[in-house]
C-alpha cells in the first residue's frame, strides 16, 4: 500500500476468463488489460455482455481468472487463496451493488455496521461510525428505518454509506444508478464522487448509464472481453476509435 497517486492503484494485465466447457464455453475476458490510478474515478462502460461485470469481479477478487495478472495497490491477487482474497476484500474494498443488497430485516444503521463488524469492530464503535456515515449521506434520523421503508435513492445512499464506512482504498460500484431515475442517479454519482475523494482511494464504476459519464475522471470502453480504449472526455466516446 505504498503506491503514489500516479502509480496504478489497479493493474490488470493480459487477463483471460471463460465460463463453461466445450460448446457452451463463453469467453468473457480476452487478454484484458486495464489500469486505474489512486485518487481517480474510472468508469467501465460498454454494451451488455462485453465483460464489464466479469472484469469488476476479477478486480474485486470474487472471480479468479484463468490467466493474467491482477494487482490492487501493489498486492498481486492472482494466485492468492480464497482466505487471503477474503481478508483482502475485508480490509481494502467497498462495494455498491446494482440492487443495493441491503438486508431487509436489519435497520439502516445495522446494514451500515456490517463491514465494520466483519472486521471485528466493537458493536458500540461500529454503531457510532455507522451513524456518522449515515449523517454524511443525508440520512440522519432514519437510522432505525428498514430498507423497505426507503426510496430507491435513499437505499442506494445507505449502500454508499455501507461501502465507505470502513475506509476502503478501492470502491467497486456495479451499475449504481440503473435502478434510479435520472436526477437521483446523478445525485448518487455526485455523492460517490464527493465522499470517495480521498488521497489514495480509487473508485471503479461499471455502468450503462451515459448520463453519468461526466462524473468520471477517465472512462474505459470495453468490447468483446477487452478494453477498447480509455478516454478522459466522455464526448470522445461518440467518435470512432482512432
Amino acid at each position: 500500500m505504498s503506491e503514489t497517486l500516479d502509480s496504478p492503484a489497479v493493474r490488470v494485465h493480459g487477463v483471460d476468463m471463460a465460463f463453461g466447457e466445450g460448446e457452451s464455453r463463453v469467453t468473457a475476458l480476452k487478454q484484458a488489460t486495464f489500469e486505474a490510478r489512486a485518487g481517480e474515478l474510472v468508469m467501465l462502460v460498454g454494451p451488455s455482455g462485453c465483460g464489464k461485470t466479469t472484469l469488476l469481479s476479477v478486480i474485486a477478487g470474487t472471480l479468479t481468472p484463468q490467466a493474467g495478472e491482477i494487482g490492487v495497490f501493489g498486492q498481486r491477487l492472482d494466485g492468492l487463496g480464497q482466505e487471503a482474497l477474503t481478508a483482502f476484500r475485508r480490509r481494502h474494498l467497498g462495494f455498491v451493488f446494482q440492487s443495493f443488497n441491503l438486508i431487509p430485516t436489519l435497520s439502516m444503521e445495522e446494514n451500515v455496521m456490517v463491514p465494520l463488524l466483519i472486521q471485528g469492530a466493537d458493536h458500540g464503535e461500529a454503531r457510532a461510525r455507522a451513524r456518522e456515515m449515515l449523517g454524511k449521506v443525508g440520512l440522519a434520523g432514519r437510522e432505525e428505518s428498514r430498507p423497505g421503508a426507503l426510496s430507491g435513492g435513499q437505499q442506494q445512499r445507505v449502500a454508499i454509506a455501507r461501502a465507505l464506512v470502513h475506509g476502503p482504498t478501492l470502491l467497486i460500484c456495479d451499475e449504481p444508478t440503473s435502478a434510479l431515475d435520472k436526477d437521483t442517479g446523478a445525485q448518487i454519482l455526485a455523492m460517490i464522487r464527493d465522499l470517495s475523494r480521498a488521497p489514495g482511494r480509487c473508485v471503479i464504476v461499471v455502468t450503462h448509464d451515459h448520463r453519468i459519464y461526466r462524473f468520471a475522471d477517465r472512462i474505459a470502453e470495453m468490447e468483446d472481453g477487452r478494453i477498447r480504449r480509455m478516454v478522459d472526455d466522455p464526448k470522445l466516446l461518440d467518435q470512432p476509435h482512432a
Partner: protein, 396 residues
C-alpha cells in the same frame, strides 16, 4: 455480528414462527410421549411404592414385583432368624375376580397384610381405619378402585344413579363376602384393577385355601444394617431372593425390585417400541419442518449472505452466524415445546390419566435432540452458503 444474526432471524417473523412451530412440536412430542412412557412404566413397580418396605424377600425365581411365586409359610421363620432382621411380615398379592352385586365381574389386586403389624398398609387412608380389617370379611379398597367398581342404584321413584363404592358396600371374591370398611389413596398400578387390602389370613380364605399364599416377605433391618447388606445375608442364609425398595430406575443397583420390574417390562413388552416410534416420529417431523424452514430462510437470504461474503466475511464467520441463529431458534423451540408438555402434564397429573412422569433427564435429552435438529438445519444452510459464489452479487 451475532446480534445482527439474531436480528436477521427475528426480522422475518413468518419464517421464525414456522421454524418455532416445527421445533416446539418436536420438543412437545418428544417430552410428552417420553413422560407418558415413563409414567406408564413407573406404574409397573407401583406395589414397591405403595407397600413401602425396606427389604422385600421373594422366591429365587421371581423376576419382578408383579410376578409372585408363592413360598412356604415356614420361609418366614427362616428369614426372621437371619442376623440383622428386626422384623419380617408376610405379604400376599394375587389377581382375583370380584363379583359385584349387579352380577358384573371386576379383576382386583388382592393384598393380604400381616394383621398384627399391618406392615405394607397404605400410607393415606381417606375413610375408615386400617384396624377395621381385623373384623370378619372386611377389605379396604383404593379411591380409584371405588370409582371403577361403581354401583348402580335404582331409587323408589325409578331414578337410576351410579356412585362409587363406599364403606358398608359389599362384593364377593370367590363367593366369599368382602365388606368395605375403608377407602385409601394409593398410586395406580400397571395392571389397572382396583386394590383390595385385607389381612394375610383372610387372603387365604379368598384364594380358597391355596397351598402356598406367601407372595413376599417385608423385612425391616436392625439399625445400622443397610438394606443391601441385609439382602446379602438373607440370600446367603435362606437361598431366597432379597430386594431393596429403591425406586430410582437410573440407579444400576442389582438389588432394586423397582428397577428390575421396570427393565423387565422394557424387555418383555412392546411399550418402549410403540412410544419410541412416537418419539422418533417427533424427531423426524422436527428435522423435516425445521430443516426445510431454515433452509428456505437461508435461500431467501442467500443474496445477502453472498453480499456479506463479497464484503469479506469468511465461511467461519458465516457458519458461526448460521449456527447461532439455528441454536437460538432451537432453544426457543425447546422452551415452548417443553413448556407445553409441562402444561399438558399438569392437566394429566390432575386427572390421573394417562400417567405422566417428567424426569429431568427427559428434558435434557429433548434439549439435546432439539439442538441436534437445529445443528443439522444449520449445517444444511452452511453447505448452501458455502457453495454460493460471492461474484453473484454483481449479477443484479
Amino acid at each position: 455480528m451475532y446480534r445482527l444474526a439474531l436480528n436477521m432471524l427475528f426480522g422475518d417473523r413468518g419464517k421464525l414462527a414456522m421454524l418455532l412451530c416445527g421445533l416446539s412440536f418436536s420438543a412437545l412430542l418428544m417430552a410428552q410421549q417420553t413422560s407418558v412412557f415413563f409414567g406408564i412404566m413407573s406404574w409397573t413397580y407401583t406395589p414397591v411404592v405403595n407397600i413401602r418396605a425396606k427389604v422385600w424377600v421373594s422366591d429365587p425365581m421371581v423376576e419382578q414385583v408383579n410376578d409372585a411365586k408363592p413360598m412356604r409359610d415356614t420361609d418366614l421363620s427362616r428369614v426372621r432368624s437371619v442376623d440383622g432382621v428386626s422384623w419380617a411380615a408376610p405379604l400376599h398379592t394375587s389377581f382375583l375376580q370380584a363379583r359385584m352385586p349387579d352380577g358384573n365381574f371386576k379383576l382386583v389386586t388382592l393384598v393380604g397384610l400381616d394383621a398384627d403389624t399391618f406392615a405394607g398398609a397404605p400410607a393415606e387412608i381417606v375413610q375408615g381405619r386400617i384396624e377395621d380389617l381385623r373384623l370378619p370379611n372386611t377389605v379396604m379398597i383404593d379411591e380409584w378402585g371405588a370409582q371403577l367398581m361403581s354401583r348402580t342404584e335404582v331409587a323408589l321413584d325409578g331414578a337410576v344413579t351410579t356412585r362409587p363404592l363406599r364403606p358398608g358396600d359389599t362384593f364377593e371374591i370367590n363367593d366369599v363376602e368382602a365388606r368395605i370398611v375403608g377407602i385409601c389413596r394409593v398410586r395406580r398400578a400397571f395392571t389397572g384393577g382396583p386394590f383390595a387390602y385385607t389381612t394375610y389370613d383372610r387372603a387365604k380364605a379368598y384364594t380358597l385355601g391355596a397351598r402356598r399364599t406367601l407372595s413376599f416377605m417385608l423385612v425391616e433391618p436392625y439399625a445400622g444394617v443397610t438394606p443391601a447388606e441385609l439382602c446379602d445375608r438373607i440370600e446367603r442364609g435362606t437361598g431366597l431372593r432379597a430386594w431393596t425398595s429403591d425406586t430410582v430406575i437410573w440407579d444400576w443397583s442389582e438389588r432394586s425390585l423397582a428397577r428390575h420390574t421396570f427393565w423387565w417390562f422394557w424387555r418383555n413388552t412392546g411399550i418402549p417400541f410403540s412410544f419410541g416410534t412416537a418419539v422418533a416420529l417427533g424427531l423426524f417431523v422436527g428435522i423435516a419442518i425445521s430443516g426445510q424452514t431454515f433452509y428456505s430462510f437461508v435461500l431467501e437470504n442467500l443474496r445477502y449472505f453472498a453480499a456479506i461474503k463479497a464484503m469479506g466475511a469468511g465461511m467461519g464467520l458465516l457458519s458461526r452466524m448460521l449456527v447461532f441463529q439455528a441454536l437460538v431458534a432451537g432453544l426457543l423451540g425447546f422452551g415452548l415445546g417443553a413448556g407445553m408438555a409441562q402444561a399438558i402434564g399438569r392437566v394429566m397429573i390432575e386427572k390421573g390419566m394417562p400417567p405422566f412422569v417428567m424426569f429431568p433427564q427427559v428434558l435434557w435429552a429433548t434439549l439435546a435432540f432439539i439442538l441436534g435438529i437445529s445443528l443439522v438445519s444449520a449445517l444444511i444452510g452452511i453447505v448452501k452458503v458455502s457453495r454460493v459464489d460471492a461474484s453473484t452479487v454483481f449479477r443484479g
